[in-house]
């Protein structure tokens, strides 16, 4: 049946390093039918439509590797799969997720392609692909396409599914330190590191952020009294029940005062610098609507500051801005706000805007009235009218903070008990000591937003994500446990189980995901084929696991990707095809190479690839490894070994029935194969399995005596326990 449409045959989410790239992608299998006969240069107006809808495509370099390269391909003629790839990446870029990887490849069936694009999040990229299909079809059929609507929907999906900016900046900092991360929930709960070395973050909270400290920080009165006890300056204040109470309290404390709700946030219902009974009573009523109780406290003159404390150190500081307008003698206050303030492109209501739009809320109204104007009044030309004091705290002032003040805010965080805290400080000049100017700490916040430090409205962005990551993983801690990835043909499971046994013997709580089940600390937890992404992920999420052994079937690599970003040891047992990958069009030897090399690609620079020297394809992969290579071979005379050993390389060999550890030309006999029960049957493949396991154990620095003891006592039986 002929058709000129683009159909999705399947969309596969490759959730880790995969046959295409190191990062998660969506792989769409599409059928373009008879569009195969219609490359882009044959469709009148297609180039024009496409380039006008998405002018940003000019930046796509594509195979010409130059600006405009992709559009040149479109002009010269290319096929819908390739165009979809670029369009979906461009749509994601427009929605705030720039960059990324893309490929479009034919499969051996006419009109069927694999289109691959970076998956920032499965749901986001899925929609981007669908929108790209619709856009390309609209271009082909000369129909309208609402790019803005597609981008805005995509943007919503990004907001819904991707990490928020605070968590995002921490994860980014972790990535730049090559720390692995796992999102544990659809929200902002993220695991950094693997297994027992992991830490967790949830926005700007860490797994060491104390729940009690958080509840203290929410109780402003308690926080204030604890801080005051330790000599940290705070505005003294009292909780009041009525407007009359408020006035009485204000007189006791001394004017001017601040009136605010006890549990409000984002500065709502907060009135500062109140001096008259009328102001105070009005403020009381508004504040009461915002929170359960109302507090009257000493007014601390100065600007609002937010100081971020991470791990006992102040790492960033921001100052509040005062929004004001200058009268022009014609416009009303409301008009001036729009003309002079809200016209600033930095102002907006999304998280991407460093400044909020200025609203004449009740507090601002009071401020304006105090200066003798009504919202509809027209201030004379040149008259400055303050609309809002301490609006957005988003002007970076990190470098200005006086060292004593930095110490004081760190103490405040310590008193409350928070490892990460946003300390709100009011002071005229943050570069001078607090005491000299009556400055005070007004609040200590748990889980502070980081946006003001990452994207300040003015001044330098601060590397707060980096500071948090450093706090969680000090002194270059990699957050990694030894991860052994095992793939190849036959023998994967056996090698995985022997290696696990050896890790357990050397004292590691080890997790194993393999084709006979999921094992934790010698116990079979779930039987069945668990050489899968999901089970491997579970092992890496487990806080008890000190070492992970993960078997990857070729099918799992092709359909799911790897569960880890990098590994300490990547093992390929052999190159024999034992799985049928034809339905994924991955059955040719070249595709098989592409599939299995994934295991070698992810070996850490400090890690090791363990390869079977008998297999030329595996030997070819040696140069793809960032770390060391240890060969194992039943035939010690292979030429590749000679070359490898001549450079001082390590190998594990079988010589005269003995397992031999080689380093360069040096050889040490470990034990006789006859002493190893699993190889007692004399099968050649079991001998290779023993060699592979020994090589892996050496790669993990397991002591020879442990290896020997482990091999001598390991019995491969039908019962799936270890």
């Amino acid at each position: 049946m002929s058709h000129k449409t683009i159909k999705f045959l399947s969309i596969t989410h490759l959730k880790g390093p995969n046959v295409w790239t190191y990062t998660p992608v969506l792989e769409a299998l599409i059928d373009i039918g008879d569009l195969e006969d219609c490359p882009s240069n044959t469709i009148p107006g297609f180039y024009e439509r496409l380039s006008s809808w998405l002018p940003g495509l000019v930046e796509h370099r594509c195979s010409y590797d130059e600006r405009g390269g992709f559009l040149r391909r479109v002009e010269e003629g290319t096929w819908p799969g390739h165009i979809m790839e670029h369009v979906s990446l461009e749509l994601q870029a427009l929605a705030g997720m720039p960059g990324g990887f893309g490929r479009a490849r034919e499969v051996p069936i006419r009109g069927v392609y694999k289109v691959v694009v970076t998956a920032w999040h499965e749901m986001v990229t899925r929609y981007a692909l669908e929108a790209a299909r619709d856009l390309v079809m609209a271009g082909i059929e000369d129909k309208p396409f609402d790019v803005a609507a597609a981008v805005s929907h995509l943007r919503e999906l990004v907001d819904d599914y991707c990490l928020g900016p605070s968590t995002g900046c921490i994860v980014e900092a972790a990535e730049s330190r090559h720390l692995p991360f796992i999102r544990l929930s659809t929200g902002n709960l993220v695991q950094l590191g693997y297994g027992s070395r992991q830490r967790r973050i949830w926005t700007a909270e860490t797994d060491r952020t104390s729940a009690i400290a958080e509840s203290i920080s929410r109780d402003k009165d308690l926080t204030k009294s604890l801080l005051a006890s330790c000599g940290v300056p705070v505005p003294e204040g009292v909780t009041v029940k009525s407007p009359e109470d408020a006035w009485e309290a204000a007189e006791d404390i001394g004017l001017p005062v601040v009136v605010k709700p006890s549990d409000g946030n984002h500065g709502r219902g907060v009135f500062t610098n109140l001096t008259t009974r009328e102001e105070i009573e009005t403020a009381f009523s508004v504040a009461q609507d915002e929170g359960s109780e109302v507090i009257v406290e000493r007014f601390i003159p100065g600007n609002e500051h937010r100081l971020l404390v991470v791990g006992g150190r102040m790492v960033a500081a921001s100052r509040g801005e005062t929004a004001q307008v200058v009268g022009d003698g014609k416009s009303t206050v409301l008009e001036l706000i729009e003309l002079q303030l809200n016209s600033d492109p930095r102002r907006g209501n999304s998280e991407d805007h460093p400044l909020n739009r200025v609203r004449l809320d009740s507090a601002a109204r009071l401020e304006v009235r105090r200066q003798g104007f009504e919202p509809d009044g027209v201030p004379p030309e040149g008259k400055v009218v303050v609309i809002q004091r301490n609006g957005n705290v988003s002007i970076d002032c990190t470098a200005e903070v006086h060292p004593d003040t930095a110490e004081t805010v760190a103490l405040a965080a310590r008193i409350v008990g928070l490892d990460i805290a946003g300390v709100d400080l009011v002071v005229e000049d943050v570069s001078k000591p607090l005491a000299d100017q009556g400055g005070a700490i007004v609040e200590v916040n748990a889980g502070p937003g980081l946006l003001m430090h990452i994207k300040p409205a003015a001044g330098e962005p601060q590397p707060v994500g980096k500071a948090i990551v450093e706090h969680l993983f000090p002194n270059g801690d990699s957050g990694r446990i030894p991860v052994v990835g095992i793939s190849g043909g036959k023998g994967k499971t056996t090698v995985a189980r022997v290696v696990t046994r050896l890790l357990e013997l050397s004292g590691h709580y080890t997790g194993l995901a393999c084709s006979t089940g999921l094992y934790l600390d010698r116990r079979l937890v779930e039987a069945g084929d668990r050489a899968q992404w999901d089970t491997a992920r579970r092992v890496l999420m487990n806080r008890s696991v000190q070492a992970a052994v993960i078997e990857n079937s070729a099918t799992s690599i092709v359909t799911e990707g790897l569960a880890y970003d990098r590994c300490q040891v990547g093992v390929l047992t052999n190159f024999e095809p034992i799985e049928d990958l034809s339905k994924y069009y991955m059955d040719s030897p070249e595709k098989r190479f592409t599939t299995l090399r994934t295991q070698v690609d992810v070996v850490l620079p400090t890690g090791v690839a363990v390869l079977n020297a008998r297999e030329p394809q595996l030997v070819e992969m040696a140069e793809l490894c960032d770390g060391e290579v240890i060969y194992f071979a039943a035939d010690p005379s292979l030429p590749v070994l000679a070359e490898h050993r001549s450079k001082g390389g390590r190998a594990v060999l079988l010589r005269e029935g003995g397992v031999v550890l080689a380093k360069g030309w040096e050889e040490t006999k470990l034990l006789d194969l006859a002493q190893v029960p699993m190889a007692a049957g004399g099968e050649a493949f079991q001998a290779e399995n023993v060699l592979a396991a020994v090589a892996t154990a050496r790669a993990l620095d397991i002591a020879p005596e442990v290896i020997r003891a482990g091999l001598e006592t390991f019995v491969l039986d039908a019962a799936p326990a270890i």
Binding site: W202, E205, A211, C230, G231, L520, N542, S544
Partner: protein, 861 residues
């Protein structure tokens, strides 16, 4: 009877170690015992017993009459609290010098309860005096209710009790359940069953059931795994993936509506899907866990307790209706209304009725004999459920899974909800699983299970925070005395600092943390002491403990490691707050000695007989100091093989019995000016004694004494020396006869052509004490300049000056006396008359201002 002042003594105090209410009560003549009033008082007592018979339990046996109504008030306030269930025992009434005025002291456990009980006791006595009615039941109910409101709940309470048993100090930070254990840098906090290391993220995870399940599954813990399903086909597919039997239920459903359990066939699953989808669009299929509800408590990496939880239920007898059966169950005396008893009454409310309706019963149904009728789905104690302790039965594999669950979520105190047939076998063997983990779990079911043994849960929490042998205390040195306190405090604090400890220090001029002043003014009271002990950066505390705070509120700590009493001498501030004599004062200053820890030390001045006698009150050991090793007290001390410090051959000698432990040459202690300033030598001995008691090494002590700087900037008003045009100026804050005597003695060793002194008198001293000061000076100084203090403290203009002049009458040395208005002018007047080689002692009043003024003049010169 009139109550003129009520105070809460919140720490160890003059009267006892108990927290107490102290009131000043004035009784008329008729209200105190005399032959004339005896009959009246007897009938008062009868009326009192009539209204509150239980008062007899706390009164001395066989008392026919009491010395006064104040005494009756004492027993009434104690008795009311005791009857309301507060564990209080101490009370006392003490006469003052004013006839008919008594100090009544009554212990409390909760301040608001104590205060209310006292007020109610006043009403009771009034009612007995006036023969008006008194509603005892109502009063006791109010007290009980308030007590239940303010006292710690059972979970927090059990942890605090465990801390008390371990001698770990605690302090409530709020009226709620937030409690601080330990002091300074060793403090930890709990809030109900949460520790300060309990992670907020872990708590959020625990609240998200699906996320928790996912994480537990990753940890290999059996959970009721499941997924949402799209339709009936999918439901059956899911059931097969998960394994039968399964539960089908609406996601996030409540009250069990639309839930079908234990489904084993395709037909059942499909039918259940149809039912569930009527309630919610999202339908879940989950593995069914057969069995009963258990709660396992994990603290740290240990299983601490386990209980089986049964919902409130009745068992049919074929005769009574369900309502009657519930009434029968509720008649059990162990079932109370609140949290106080081990069981709570079954609530027969709408939820109970709805639960019955699902079983096709109503309140008036008569269930057949033996039928188990649950009245609620959940097994909470607070709604009438019961808990049976099964801790000793838990299989180690099952325990390991519960611990793994807590660890995976990251909770250090975790209530793990397990569903299985029995805890005696591993979960996997019986298809059981963990359904939920709870942060801040209730502990009552383990502390006071309805059936079975209570478990030491609080102890487990405390030992997680404080390993064995750690009591959370930092070294605390309390210093009292009439003179030398401030210098001694600063010196000890300096020794701690030299020992590498971050030190907090309180005194009359402020609170210092690591040398930084964080509070100003007189900070020698309990509040400042508590603040220092709250500060997270304090490894050791040195606390000046002035009498005012002790009288007002008691001590700010329960025990100290070292109590130093420098001297009492002739006393200071006598005549205030019923402290009239030096002996009275000694009782106040002795409080810190009485509250030395059992393994602590009192460092006492052997030459001051009143101070030396305090040794008898010390529960720990005593170190005496005196310049003269042959002083009888010292000689006795050494004869008994105990510790003492004295001066010999220009060294301070630390000896234990006949053994000289260490010698420190006074030439290496600048503060003493080669040992010439006698009172500083005493201060140095006191401080050295304290450091010795703490266990600071002699090397550090010697170094500390050598590097201690005392000048106007570090010790304002403490023997600050200046050179003014070749004359020697000494500024000091000494304001009592002993201080002035010590200063005079110190100055006597200094050579001078002519000696002058500038002095004012503080109005709050007794007349005699003011006169005494100038009487001492008159024998040592050629010229005296008197000035009027800034604050006359209630004295008439010129009154103090008059007293000072009186003291100078007949002075042996003083030839010239002058009166000046204002401190600065007095200083300037004295300075103007100095020639090189002269000596002038300025007894400053407004310390900071006066020193600044002197420094300015010295600079100008």
């Amino acid at each position: 009877m009139e109550v003129s002042r009520i105070r809460a003594l919140r720490g160890p105090n003059l009267w006892s170690r108990h927290t107490s209410i102290e009131a000043i009560v004035t009784c008329s003549e008729a209200e105190r015992f005399s032959p004339a009033s005896s009959a009246l008082l007897e009938s008062f007592l009868d009326r009192l017993l009539e209204r509150f018979p239980e008062i007899g339990l706390v009164m001395p046996a066989g008392a026919a009459a009491l010395p006064s109504v104040a005494h009756a008030l004492q027993f009434a306030a104690l008795g009311l609290q005791a009857s309301a269930g507060c564990p209080v025992t101490f009370s006392r009434t003490s006469e003052t010098l004013d006839p008919g005025v008594y100090q009544v002291v009554v212990e409390y456990t909760e301040e608001p309860v104590g205060r209310l009980a006292f007020d109610l006791a006043v009403s009771l006595c009034q009612a007995a005096l006036e023969n008006t009615p008194f509603d005892l039941d109502n009063v006791l109910a109010r007290l009980r209710e308030l007590d239940e409101d303010v006292r710690l709940g059972p979970s927090t309470g059990s942890i605090v009790d465990a801390a008390i048993a371990r001698n770990i100090p605690f302090r409530r930070l709020t009226e709620g359940s937030l409690v601080q254990f330990g002091w300074g840098s060793k403090q930890r906090r709990i809030q109900a069953a949460e520790m300060d290391c309990t992670s907020a993220i872990a708590e959020s995870i625990a609240q998200d059931k699906e996320l928790t399940k996912e994480l537990l599954r990753a940890a290999g813990v059996p959970v009721p795994w499941g997924r949402t399903v799209a339709d009936a086909d999918d439901a059956w597919a899911a059931a097969q993936e998960i394994g039968l039997p399964v539960v089908v239920k609406p996601r996030d459903g409540n009250q069990g509506k639309g839930v079908a359990v234990n489904l084993k066939s395709e037909a059942e699953v499909r039918q259940a899907f149809d039912v569930a989808s009527e309630f919610r669009d999202d339908v879940m299929v989950e593995r069914y866990l057969p069995g009963q509800d258990f709660r396992v408590l994990v603290v740290g990496k240990q299983l601490v307790a386990a209980a089986r939880r049964d919902p409130p239920q009745v068992i049919g007898d074929g005769v009574h209706t369900i309502r009657q059966l519930v009434d029968q169950v509720n008649a059990d005396p162990r079932r109370g209304e609140g949290h106080a008893t081990s069981l709570t009454k079954i609530r027969f409310d709408e939820i109970a009725l709805a639960t019955l309706a699902r079983q096709n019963y109503n309140a008036d149904s008569v269930p057949p004999r033996g039928a188990r009728v649950p009245l609620r789905n959940n097994a909470n104690l607070s709604t009438g459920g019961s808990a049976t302790d099964v801790t000793d039965d838990v299989h180690p594999e099952l325990a390991a899974k519960a611990v793994a669950a807590a660890q995976m979520v990251g909770l250090d105190i975790c209530g793990v909800d397990v569903v299985c047939e029995t805890v005696q076998r591993p979960l996997e063997e019986q298809g059981g699983g963990i359904v939920e983990v709870n942060a801040a779990p209730g502990l009552r079911m383990h502390l006071q299970p309805s059936f079975g043994k209570g478990r030491a849960v609080g102890e487990a929490v405390i030992s997680t925070m404080y390993p064995d042998g750690d009591d959370g205390r930092i070294p605390v040195v309390a210093v009292a005395g009439t003179n030398g306190k401030t210098t001694t405090v600063r010196l000890i604090s300096h020794l701690f600092t030299c020992n590498g400890q971050r030190t907090g220090m309180t005194g009359t001029d402020g609170v210092y943390i690591q040398g930084k002043r964080i509070d100003t003014g007189d900070c020698s009271g309990p509040k400042s002491a508590r603040n220092v002990l709250l500060h997270p950066d304090v490894d050791a505390a040195v606390l000046e403990t002035a009498r005012g705070g002790v009288l007002r509120e008691g001590l700010g700590f329960d025990r100290c490691n070292v109590a130093v009493v420098t001297n009492i001498g002739m006393g200071d501030h006598l005549g205030l707050a019923y402290i009239n004599t030096v002996e009275d004062l000694a009782v106040v200053k002795r409080v810190i000695v009485e509250n030395v820890a059992n393994n602590g030390t009192a460092v006492l001045n052997a030459t001051d007989p009143i101070v030396a006698r305090m040794a008898e009150s010390c529960p720990g050991s005593v170190t005496f100091f005196a310049a003269d090793p042959h002083h009888p007290v010292m000689a006795t001390q050494f004869a008994q093989g105990r510790r003492g410090l004295y001066v010999e051959g220009g060294d301070i000698v630390a000896a234990e019995g006949s053994t000289v432990v260490h010698r420190i040459p006074l030439s290496g202690v600048p503060l003493t000016r080669n040992g010439s300033i006698g009172f500083q030598v005493e201060n140095v001995m006191a401080a050295t004694g304290a450091a010795w008691a703490i266990g600071i090494s002699w090397e550090v002590i010697r170094q500390g004494l050598a590097t201690f700087v005392s000048d106007a900037s570090t010790a304002p008003g403490r023997f600050n020396l200046f050179d003014y045009k070749g004359a020697t100026l000494i500024a000091d804050y000494g304001h009592n006869p002993d201080a002035i005597q010590a200063l005079t003695n110190a100055i006597a060793t200094m050579t001078a052509k002519r000696r002058s002194v500038v002095i004012s008198g503080a109005g709050d001293r007794r007349d005699e004490d003011i006169r005494q000061q100038t009487r001492i000076l008159g024998g040592a100084f050629d010229e005296v300049i008197l000035y009027q203090d800034a604050c006359q403290r209630g004295r008439a203009d010129g009154e103090v000056l008059g007293l000072l002049r009186e003291g100078l009458q007949g002075a042996s040395r003083t030839r010239n006396v002058e009166e000046v208005r204002g401190e600065f002018l007095a200083i300037d007047t004295a300075l103007a008359r100095l020639s090189p080689g002269d000596l002038c002692l300025i007894l400053v009043d407004q310390v900071d201002e006066a020193l600044e003024h002197i420094a300015k003049r010295v600079k100008e010169a």
